[in-house]
Symmetry: C2
DNA sequence: CTGTTAGCGCCTTCAG
DNA sequence: CTGAAGGCGCTAACAG
């Protein structure tokens, strides 16, 4: 049988209320009765029924995250973010409720369900779209949330990495090594950060006096395989690039595959750079030059912020912008062949 | 304001009961009223309050997992398992409740809380100990669970990988390449799978007519750094091993670091092999020979089993044992130097 | 210091 | 076919 307050109350010959208050540590309970109640609770292994508590208190001490099903598995990015959020949530005594969903309509309705059904106190969301219905919904519902990423309408608490500066430094680095034909594999335009990263690319080329060439600008889907195919197209050009910047590490790894597949050597014949610095990046062959996003820490800080929002405490900074770090490894190693 | 059954009932001029039944799809509601109620619910964006529902129905459609905090971040193993479980949970309409906890007492009490507080319908647990208090607790509480791994008392539903055979094949492979001085870096003895993997090691050496040497058997903590230190000790021996088998990939990667650090070449001077085949394993330099555990699929299947247990349906197989696959890459590449 | 009362939102008898 | 009543387990006034 389940042990409830009632069980304890009967055992102690007291009312449910008193037991509740004693266990909650209220001051207005006789110290002796309190001790007695606690002892019984302990002995019976009492655990409060959280469903009941949530129903009453409208609080769940649970944070929700929706994971898009497609990128779920193959996406170290999400996993790392999740780790950071989960780690910090534990710190505050919060649990994490995960719902894996197909992106799109289902995903949005997962948010709707989570929020309206009082299962969570707040939401962390990632991979912000330029025009994001999830954010629109959460704002409208006035439900606490923090996003990893800015969108067009960014009047909400977020933490983001300055992707423009990140890619700028990356391209600058490649230019310094003598590259002039520098291609970029963009992420989908719908994602908010794509614009920023592209901007960094443009600015760096501009300052180096290199004209933007449409043929060197391609778009893919953030997967390794997508990166491989995009790179293939670039390498098949009559005048192929000597350096390829991918908007994330997974696509950069795919790019390396493509380069090897056509018999060229990464870092010697074609330089490659990524973005994220996922764990694997340090172990690729050759190790990948990239821009480090401290995803794990971002997860932790996002949760810090979210807890403030939930408690309706003022945030010291509602908009955090981190400057990413350039990590130079061997994939951008040698100057271009010519 | 929150939309509840009451809101809809007032709007429709009906009782809460009828609304509830209409929305639940009971047959005993006039088709017209039903339609009208559904329309109102839709218009108002009604979402049932799950806390209330759980309180009533004693069901949560939620699966719980406790993640040990230490190995959380650095552990691709858990992340992959999580992905598989989450993926399949979505299939059944279940959500995932994660609680990150310090291993030990706190971890156990997290299980206690989850179970007794009616927050979840079932539990998936991993990294089974030889003598596992969590399993003892779940069995005693008669709470649905499925484990990834067998323990000493294995009268519970589990799915496991035949680690003995896995390591056996690994060592057999090394022997075939001419190695005789083969060391093993074990995982902690408290973990159930350590015994099995060690057994595979013993059997393979035995069949090859190689005597077991205590100096070649060391133990570490499944982390990369731990692997590095353990390998260091092995390499400092007067007669160091020509091949090192680590009980997981993380330690194998640490081993490669140690080998490089003392100026030797992995795969040429010293062969290295791991266990798991984490995503990074294919990208290490050189790529890591290992034993593939289909962790993602295991997560999915564990969830399939768990759903059966929850529904009190009979399991076709309460004990699943998968035979892992040997993945030969370059880290075990060349025959020993001598 | 303790007990009574009320209700969170939902579902399920049991009567009409 | 519909409604009234009761209760899941907990907490928060409000009295004594």
């Amino acid at each position: 049988m389940k042990v409830t307050l009632k069980t304890i109350a009967e055992e102690a010959g007291l009312s449910i209320t008193t037991v509740s208050r004693a266990l909650a540590g209220y001051g207005d309970v006789n110290e002796d009765t309190r001790r007695r109640i606690v002892a019984i609770a302990q002995r019976l292994g009492y655990q409060p029924n959280l469903a009941a508590r949530h129903l009453r208190s409208k609080q769940t001490r649970t944070i929700g995250m929706v994971i898009p099903l497609t990128s779920y598995f193959s996406d170290p990015f999400f996993m790392e973010l999740l780790s950071g959020v989960g780690r910090q949530a534990a710190e505050y005594g919060y649990d994490l409720l995960l719902s894996a969903q197909q992106p799109g309509e289902e995903e949005l309705s997962a948010y709707r369900r989570m929020v309206a059904s009082s299962r969570i106190d707040g939401v962390v969301l990632a991979r912000v779209l330029a025009d994001d219905p999830r954010i629109a919904f959460l704002k409208e519902a006035r439900h606490p949330f923090v996003a990893f990423g800015r969108s067009n309408a960014n009047d909400y608490p977020y933490i983001d990495v300055d992707g423009a500066t990140g890619v700028y430094r990356l391209v600058e680095h490649l230019v310094a090594r003598g590259h002039r034909r520098i291609a970029i594999i963009l992420s989908p335009r719908t994602l908010a950060f794509t614009t920023a990263r592209f901007e960094g690319y443009q600015r760096a080329l501009n300052e180096a006096g290199i004209a933007l060439a449409g043929q060197y600008i391609v778009e893919s889907d953030l997967t390794q395989e997508g990166g491989r195919m995009a790179a293939q197209r670039l390498l098949d050009l009559p005048s192929p690039p000597t350096a390829i910047v991918a908007c994330n590490d997974a696509m950069a790894i795919g790019t390396m595959q493509a380069i090897r597949a056509c018999g060229r050597v990464v870092g010697r014949d074609v330089a490659v750079a990524g973005f994220d610095d996922i764990p694997t990046a340090a172990f690729t062959d050759p190790p990948l030059t990239t821009v480090r996003q401290p995803i794990y820490d971002i997860g932790r800080r996002a949760l810090d912020m979210l807890v403030c929002v939930i408690r309706q405490e003022p945030l010291d900074e509602a908009h955090v912008l981190l400057v990413p770090e350039l990590i130079v490894r061997q994939s951008s190693g040698a100057p271009p062949s010519r």
